[in-house]
């Protein structure tokens, strides 16, 4: 890393900056159009997030000049992003599968009138899940 000690002083040309800005504005328009006026169903969410990710990449690479910078700074950003991903995914391991204890459902936990509460709860869940689609 010692060889590129001047890496922090790379001058990003005006042309690059203007191009990046124009692309960012274009992507913003695109994301509004695809989300508000053209309904593409289930793809709405992934598309909007991909466009946002692309915009963020542009800002990071050129405006923040990571492309020309010490690779250590890219590594730092990468570790941060990985950490956020872990936080999100591992929390979803719980919240997206909450109540997945299998052997509780198959056993009978009855109230005083002999109803199978777990059975009812599961049916109610399945019903509400079905209603979403």
């Amino acid at each position: 890393m010692a060889h590129d000690s001047h890496s922090g002083h790379h001058i990003v040309s005006q042309r690059v900056l203007i191009t990046v800005f124009a692309s960012l504005v274009a992507l913003t328009v695109l994301t509004v159009i695809t989300a508000q006026f053209v309904d593409i169903g289930v793809l709405n969410l992934p598309l909007a997030l991909s466009i946002a990710g692309l915009k963020a990449m542009l800002v990071v690479t050129f405006f923040m000049a990571l492309k020309y910078d010490n690779p250590m700074n890219s590594l730092i950003l990468g570790i941060g992003v990985i950490c956020v991903t872990v936080f999100l995914v591992f929390t979803l391991f719980d919240t997206a599968f909450r109540g997945d204890m299998p052997n509780v459902d198959s056993q009978t936990i009855s109230d005083t009138e002999g109803r199978n509460l777990n059975q009812e709860a599961r049916e109610a869940r399945e019903e509400s899940a079905g209603a979403q689609h």
Binding site: S5, A35, V59, L77, L92
Partner: protein, 228 residues
């Protein structure tokens, strides 16, 4: 990984230190690189700070997708879109200001900093009108969420959660914009005084990095809250 950073000490004495160089650094480059690395580390702490809210958003969205989709239409995408463009423009001008600082172009530096400052203010003004517009319809965070009038149909369970997350995310983001404005005022004054040259423009560079991050956060907030 082995940057033998302080080797220059044998070559440099203490006499030829430029004014901005602190005594415990050996070279300007070492100081610049250290500051920049520190800033990047600070930026990932900011990312992780916001990540908590993104996680809360995702969890509640996964649990109640139809509610989140429904009430997000209460937010005006035109105002959100305007603010997106405003922030992108400010990001662009701050990048330009660094470009001019590196080229010793005093005028370009100051003009771009002033435009950035203006954009930041416009952003907050738009946000103010958005907030007051929502408040006037009874759209508050959490338990205070009681939309009335035309919006009464949106008084559904978990809509309050959406607006809790909306207000906290945009609130903390807005706070970052506010801090950014403060820093930009300071930077602009220093730029007008001629403190920055191609040899020393670290504060502009660091503030720029911070500002781009504020922009990036908004790049994600806009579709998540306003569009989908």
């Amino acid at each position: 990984m082995s940057e033998a950073v302080a080797t220059a000490e044998q070559i440099h004495g203490h006499d030829d230190h430029p004014a901005h160089l602190q005594h415990h650094f050996v070279t300007s480059d070492q100081q610049f690189e250290a500051s920049k690395m520190g800033m990047w580390l600070f930026l990932i702490t900011e990312i992780l700070l916001f990540s908590g809210m993104f996680v809360a958003y995702t969890v509640y969205r996964v649990w109640h997708p139809e509610v989140f989709q429904g009430v997000s239409s209460l937010l005006d995408w035109r105002l959100g879109g305007l603010n997106t463009i405003v922030l992108l423009a400010s990001s662009f001008t701050v990048a330009m200001s660094i470009h001019f600082a590196q080229k010793n172009n005093q005028k370009g530096l100051v003009i771009n900093l002033v435009i950035t400052l203006l954009c930041a203010c416009i952003f907050l003004v738009v946000k103010y009108f958005e907030y007051t517009g929502k408040f006037s319809h009874g759209i508050f965070p959490g338990i205070a969420y009681h939309p009335h009038g035309d919006y009464a149909v949106y008084d559904i369970p978990y809509a309050g959660q959406f607006f809790s997350i909306y207000y906290i995310m945009t609130g903390i983001h807005g706070f970052h914009v506010l801090v950014g404005i403060g820093v930009f005022i300071w930077i602009t004054i220093r730029a007008i005084k001629g403190d920055f040259t191609s040899a020393y423009y670290t504060p502009v560079e660091l503030t720029g990095l911070y500002w781009h991050l504020v922009d990036i956060i908004w790049i994600f907030l806009f579709p998540l809250l306003y569009l989908i």
